[in-house]
């Protein structure tokens, strides 16, 4: 049971990684002059949209948390709306935090906001898919011994890796190498993306390695 689930997790995560790689490669066939660095904002949009679509589809197909009771259509709609609001709020929150960390306040607002959207896609959207608009569940998952399934462990790892990646992405900005990817927010968004991809790959492996120690509390 567990092995099979880990395999499913691995497949889903690899699919995500593959999608991100595709978003960097495929658009250049349709659009002349598209490069990740050159037309970075476009790539940010494409990447966010693709990753979120894929995540939602995966969530609908795999249903990692089957425990939900049947609910009415209205309930589902309100849930969906709530999710949207949460996502938007998290974008704003990320934007604020990024600005507080030293990003320019007035110039390049679009870049900063799209970066915030990308970060939200990598973190908040996953949480919304997995846990729903339920802050208390989020709080539970992001604490020690809080994860209750391998999906939640994977969520922990990918979220932390994305944020760490974005954090490390800020490091090369002051260097005087004059590379195109040192421009704000390219290095950070690339860092976040690489962190996310690394998290996606690490998560199944780590869970596989530690499967003996990992005992999830039953609900």
């Amino acid at each position: 049971m567990k092995e099979a689930e880990i395999r499913r997790l691995l497949a889903a995560n690899l699919l995500c990684v593959f999608t991100i790689i595709l978003t960097a490669v495929v658009p250049s066939f349709f659009w002349d002059g598209f490069t990740v660095l050159g037309t970075h904002l476009a790539w940010l949009c494409i990447c966010s949209v693709c990753v979120s679509t894929l995540n939602i589809i995966l969530h609908l197909v795999l249903k990692p948390n089957q425990s939900h009771k049947r609910s009415s259509f209205a309930h589902k709609i309100s849930r969906f709306l709530k999710c949207c609001i949460y996502f938007f709020m998290s974008c704003i929150l990320f934007h604020a935090i990024i600005v507080l960390y030293g990003a320019p306040l007035i110039e390049s607002v679009t870049e900063t906001f799209l970066f915030a959207v990308l970060l939200s896609t990598f973190t908040t959207l996953q949480c919304l898919c997995m846990l729903g608009p339920n802050v208390q569940a989020w709080i539970r998952v992001f604490s020690k011994n809080g994860a209750m399934s391998i999906w939640e462990s994977s969520l922990q790892i990918t979220t932390i890796c994305s944020i760490l990646g974005a954090w490390f992405g800020a490091f090369p900005i002051p260097l005087d190498w004059d590379r195109p990817w040192q421009v704000w927010p390219i290095s950070c968004s690339l860092g976040a993306t690489f962190g996310y991809m690394a998290g996606l790959i690490i998560a199944p492996l780590w869970i596989h390695w530690n499967r003996k120690q990992l005992t999830y509390k039953s609900r």
Partner: protein, 1067 residues
């Protein structure tokens, strides 16, 4: 409470660091004193009279041989670049490219010659330009120069040329603009900063070079090409680009020679070489090996060139060019003339005589310089100077004799020639030895000292860490870890002193103290070995130490040092966010799960979380806002310095000026109000002690004075008309009033730091040892203040049991925050002083500083309330405190470079004169290290604040309770008296806090020191790393002294509290 051992321990650790810093500095910072004198035509060191008669007009000291000169400096022209070896079949990209030089040298051997040009370290362009024009060995700090500008103050070739009416035209590297402001007849400067740009400077010069040469409106033309150097930095020497660049230079020289007239001397020189990677700055063979090429259309040399080009030191160019052009040699020159250029066309004897005369002038000038230098500085060893003096005087004597004999014609040529030859070699010997002596003391890194200093600092850091992890409470700790090491150190110092006394050598205090420091460290580790430190939780340490590691790592990259103003806030924000994240991860923010919640799988937050999150948000906002007060460095050309740095007087718009002024004053008043209400809240404002009175009335007065000073200083000069004289007085009087009031406040604080109001309600004053158990007698007291009641610890268990019936009480208002109150008052006073030294609008930055420190303290005490032992300050708190300190160093408008120092601070309260150097140094130092001072003095608050904040809100909420219950509660709220209750733990906690603070400071310093040592060959070492090291070490000294002061203030309060209790007991 052990007061002296703690202070002594910290002072000893500081001394260890200071010894390390001193040792490193003496090896790294080459210092020299600049002399202000300059040579002139009329100087009495002229050649003997019979020669002087032949001196043509327009010449000084020696006959002018060329009326014009072109100096082409090709930056980083390594000797191998200029050399041409026809035998080589497959030359490297940089070889055999300057074929024109070879062509000239072979086709006209009497007109042209190539030399090895030995540059002196440091081989950075600016230092080399200084060397090439002053003839001296510039060091990193040329004491006596004005730090505010880079302009050369010493006598130099350009100054001499201008003084003697020559027109100097310059084109190329704009470094010269800063070094020689307004010296050039005409100049074409091009930006040198962008190392990646190979062509701007060179193409700009080429555009102007030939027209200028043809126009003839010049006497000396200097062209400084940068392309080769930039190509080296960008691609390295072994690259096709270098070949292109050198070919371009070759073509340039070819056409330049075509444009030159017969009376022109052409010099092509490299200012330094480069390593295989294209870098320079250090003293390796490749870096110092540059090329010099001399050419003229009239014959220069008598002899044929030697097979292997001669190596001459770079400083030799200065006297040679000066005398060839007929101007005096610059005063501080220590170079030796290149005699073969002075031989003329006569026979061997007259050539030798001419050479002899220039040697004589040169030697006299060097002797004069050495003499005046030894009068102002002691860094040249006396006995060697004496030896040189003997050499000089004997040579001069011989010279006069010989000249007399030549005039009398008593000597026949063969003998004459040999005597002339020997005399020339004696002058040469003198000049070379003099130069060697100067080189030895000015231009060499002492690697051994550097490594020694680095090691001392590193071991001191280790010592701090070890000692802070030890459980230091017993006497034996102080004996074995303080007394014995101190004795070891003293013994070594004594032994060295005795040894010196026996050998009669000069005592080098620095070396002695370093040896003593090393010995005492050895002693510490020897005695420490047997002790078992507490097991440190390595994983828990990883997160704050990781941030510290990043911070230290950032010191090793010039880009990060340049961007440190953004690095420190970034790391601070990350540290605090990580702290909150970690608390959450550990589940300390959530309410322990009940069975029901566990079933649901949810957890809910405590109430504090919102408070904590608000604090973090506030901190982040403070951090972000403080970024608006930045100063710029020239390394970031697009940066604009913050508007807030300029004084209000410079604002044109009166409305904006008034608004800003009002804002500053209102916020200043707000600070006073905040401090007073904080003190009132904790009941420290009740007594009628002088100190409290000062806080009540003196603080507003200080603010008033500052506001008046700002008003006077920022008003436009002409607006006041007749009141001008009054304004002159007021500009001085108001700062002095602030100085006076602040120092009075500090004195009062030292004399009686108690801000406690005791209300004695004991029925019989002389009753037996009374348990001062707090029972607030009236409810009215609760309305204004919260009385803090101290229960005596010696109280017996019996009286504890009896307390219900006890009636005798003393209510002491403000006792629970007595330590913090003293520190807060001291910090506010210091803040006033430091604000006065900054420009008006920077007071906003200071308010942010206080706010941020307050928020940090609250976050820290919240976090510690949730987890941890109250008596030990965790690492993250210390590190965040220090990060905030360095953040506000930048946010008060400073940068670790000399031109960014606020020199105006020296004249706050003084008209433009100072009798000593000490006072302005103190004022400027206080201005520069303002945040270091405030944060270091406030450091003990990290320990005290959680105790102050432990007061829960429950007391306020339920003021009306049964007395019984209140008793229970009151017993819990002892606040800082908990510290007094266990004096051993208190002193240990203070010691550990100080050691941790010193450890973190020391680690940052160590990173700077290592960066300066390892990267001493780096391109940016003199622009970035060395100033950074200097500022960091000065900051360390200031911080550690202020830390000691802060801790001793706490000790002073503790003393006062003890006496207060004794008096209470006696009553």
């Amino acid at each position: 409470m052990q007061r002296w051992p703690v202070l002594l321990f910290l002072a000893w650790v500081c001394f260890l660091f200071f010894a390390g810093i001193g040792l490193f500095m003496s090896g790294f910072l080459l210092t020299r004193i600049e002399l202000a004198s300059s040579s002139s035509c009329a100087d009495p060191l002229l050649p003997p009279p019979w020669e002087r008669q032949g001196l043509p007009p327009g010449s000084c000291w020696a006959p002018q041989r060329f009326s014009k000169a072109v100096l082409v400096i090709i930056d980083a022209l390594h000797f191998e670049f200029a050399r041409f070896n026809p035998a080589k079949t497959s030359p490297l990209p940089y070889e055999n490219k300057l074929s024109f030089l070879h062509h000239l040298a072979t086709s006209q051997p009497r007109h042209a010659r190539l030399y090895r040009f030995r540059a002196d370290p440091p081989t950075a362009t600016m230092q080399r330009i200084k060397g090439l024009t002053t003839g001296s060995l510039p060091t990193f700090i040329d004491v006596g120069s004005n730090f505010a500008t880079y302009a050369i103050q010493e006598d130099n070739l350009l100054a001499q040329l201008v003084q003697n009416g020559r027109r100097v035209v310059f084109m190329g590297d704009d470094t010269w603009e800063g070094l020689f402001p307004k010296k050039f007849f005409r100049s074409y400067f091009f930006p040198s900063f962008n190392v990646k740009d190979l062509h701007t400077v060179d193409d700009g010069i080429l555009q102007h070079l030939y027209p200028t040469v043809d126009s003839g409106e010049w006497d000396v033309l200097i062209a400084h090409f940068l392309g080769v150097d930039h190509c080296g930095h960008k691609h390295g020497p072994d690259h096709p680009e270098m070949a292109k660049k050198l070919t371009q230079m070759n073509e340039m020289l070819r056409s330049l020679v075509d444009h030159l007239g017969n009376d022109t001397l052409l010099l092509v020189a490299g200012d330094h070489g480069m390593t295989e990677t294209g870098d320079h700055g250090g003293d390796s063979e490749k870096e110092v090996n540059a090329a010099l090429f001399v050419y003229s259309k009239t014959p220069l040399f008598v002899t044929v060139p030697p097979e292997e080009p001669e190596a001459i030191p770079q400083v030799n160019l200065v006297p040679t060019v000066a005398l060839l052009l007929g101007v005096p040699i610059p005063y501080s020159n220590i170079g030796e003339v290149m005699a073969e250029l002075f031989s003329g066309d006569g026979d061997a004897v007259s050539a030798a005589l001419q050479q002899l005369s220039v040697y004589h002038i040169n030697a006299k000038q060097v002797d004069r310089f050495l003499h005046s230098y030894s009068l102002v500085a002691q860094d040249l060893p006396a006995e060697q100077l004496q030896h040189l003096q003997q050499l000089f005087s004997s040579a001069v004597e011989e010279h006069t004799q010989l000249l007399a004999q030549v005039q009398g014609a008593t000597l026949v040529p063969p003998e004459l020639e040999s005597r002339l030859g020997s005399l020339i070699s004696r002058f040469q010997l003198y000049l070379r030895e003099a130069r060697a002596l100067c080189t030895q003391s000015w231009a060499r890194f002492h690697l051994l000292r550097m490594v020694g200093g680095c090691t001392l600092i590193a071991t001191s850091c280790l010592l701090c860490y070890m000692a802070s992890e030890l459980s230091a409470s017993s006497d034996s700790f102080y004996r074995s870890c303080l007394l014995y090491p101190l004795l070891w150190g003293l013994m070594v110092a004594l032994l060295l002193g005795l040894a010196h006394a026996f050998t009669q050598e000069g005592l080098d205090l620095l070396l002695v103290s370093s040896w003593a420091a090393a010995a005492s460290q050895l002693g510490f580790f020897w005695h420490w070995w047997g002790r078992h430190p507490k097991q440190a939780p390595w994983l828990g340490l990883a997160f704050p130490m990781g941030i510290l590691l990043f911070r230290c790592g950032a010191m090793f990259s010039d880009s990060f040092v340049v961007a440190e103003a953004r690095v420190a806030p970034f790391l601070l924000a990350s540290l605090v966010m990580l702290l909150v994240g970690k608390l959450h991860w550990d589940g300390r923010l959530t309410v322990p799960e009940g069975p029901k919640q566990q079933f649901l799988g949810f957890s809910s937050y405590r109430r504090e979380i919102w408070y904590l999150l608000c604090l973090v948000a506030m901190l982040l906002i403070c951090v972000r806002l403080s970024g608006f007060f930045h100063q710029c460095r020239e390394e970031i050309p697009q940066c604009r310095p913050s508007l807030f740095l300029s004084p209000l007087a410079s604002l044109r718009n009166t409305r904006a000026k008034n608004l800003f002024y009002l804002l500053c004053v209102v916020l200043l008043a707000g600070l006073v109000y905040a401090v007073r209400s904080w003190l009132r809240h904790y009941g420290n404002l009740n007594s009628s002690d002088p100190l409290v009175l000062f806080v009540r009335w003196g603080f507003p007065l200080v603010v008033l004075c500052i506001a008046c000073y700002w008003a006077v200083a920022s008003s436009a000069d002409d607006s006041l008309g007749k009141l001008q004289e009054l304004v002159q007085v007021a500009v001085v009087a108001f700062p002095w009033a602030v100085y006076g009031l602040a120092s009075m406040g500090l004195l009062l604080l030292l004399c009686n730091p108690m801000t406690v109001f005791a209300k004695d309600t004991r029925e019989s004053p002389g009753s037996i040892v009374t348990p001062y158990l707090g029972v607030p007698t009236s409810e009215v007291d609760f309305l204004h203040v919260i009385p803090q009641i101290y229960k005596r610890m010696q109280e017996s268990q019996k009286s504890r049991l009896e307390r219900g019936s006890c009636r005798a009480t003393v209510a002491a208002y403000g006792l629970g925050s007595v330590y913090s109150a003293a520190l807060v008052i001291a910090l506010t006073l210091l803040g006033f002083l430091l604000m006065l030294l900054h420009s008006e609008r920077l007071s906003l930055a200071f308010l942010l500083l206080f706010l941020e420190a307050f928020v940090l303290l609250h976050i820290h005490s919240r976090a510690r309330g949730l987890a941890g032992d109250p008596f030990s300050v965790p690492w993250y708190a210390v590190i965040s405190w220090l990060l905030a300190a360095s953040q506000f160093f930048y946010s008060t408008g400073h940068q670790p470079i000399f031109p960014a120092i606020h020199w105006n601070a020296a004249f706050v309260g003084f008209h433009l004169d100072h009798s000593t150097n000490l006072l302005p140094a103190v004022l400027v130092g206080a201005n520069t290290f303002a945040s270091h001072i405030l944060f270091a003095v406030g450091c003990p608050l990290l320990l005290l604040w959680p105790f102050v904040c432990e007061m829960p809100s429950s007391q306020k909420k339920k003021p009306k309770k049964e007395p019984r219950e209140e008793l229970q509660e009151v017993e819990e709220h002892m606040m800082e008296m908990r510290l007094r209750e266990s004096p051993e733990k208190f002193s240990t906690a203070l010691l550990q806090l100080g050691l941790k603070y010193l450890f973190v400071l020391g680690t940052q310093l160590l990173a700077c020191v290592c960066a300066a040592m390892i990267l001493r060959r780096h391109l940016m070492v003199w622009k970035v790393f060395a100033p950074k090291f200097l500022f960091e070490s000065l900051g360390f000294v200031v911080s550690s002294i202020c830390l000691l002061l802060g801790i001793s203030l706490v000790m002073r309060v503790d003393c006062a509290v003890s006496t207060w209790f004794n008096q209470l007991q006696l009553r």
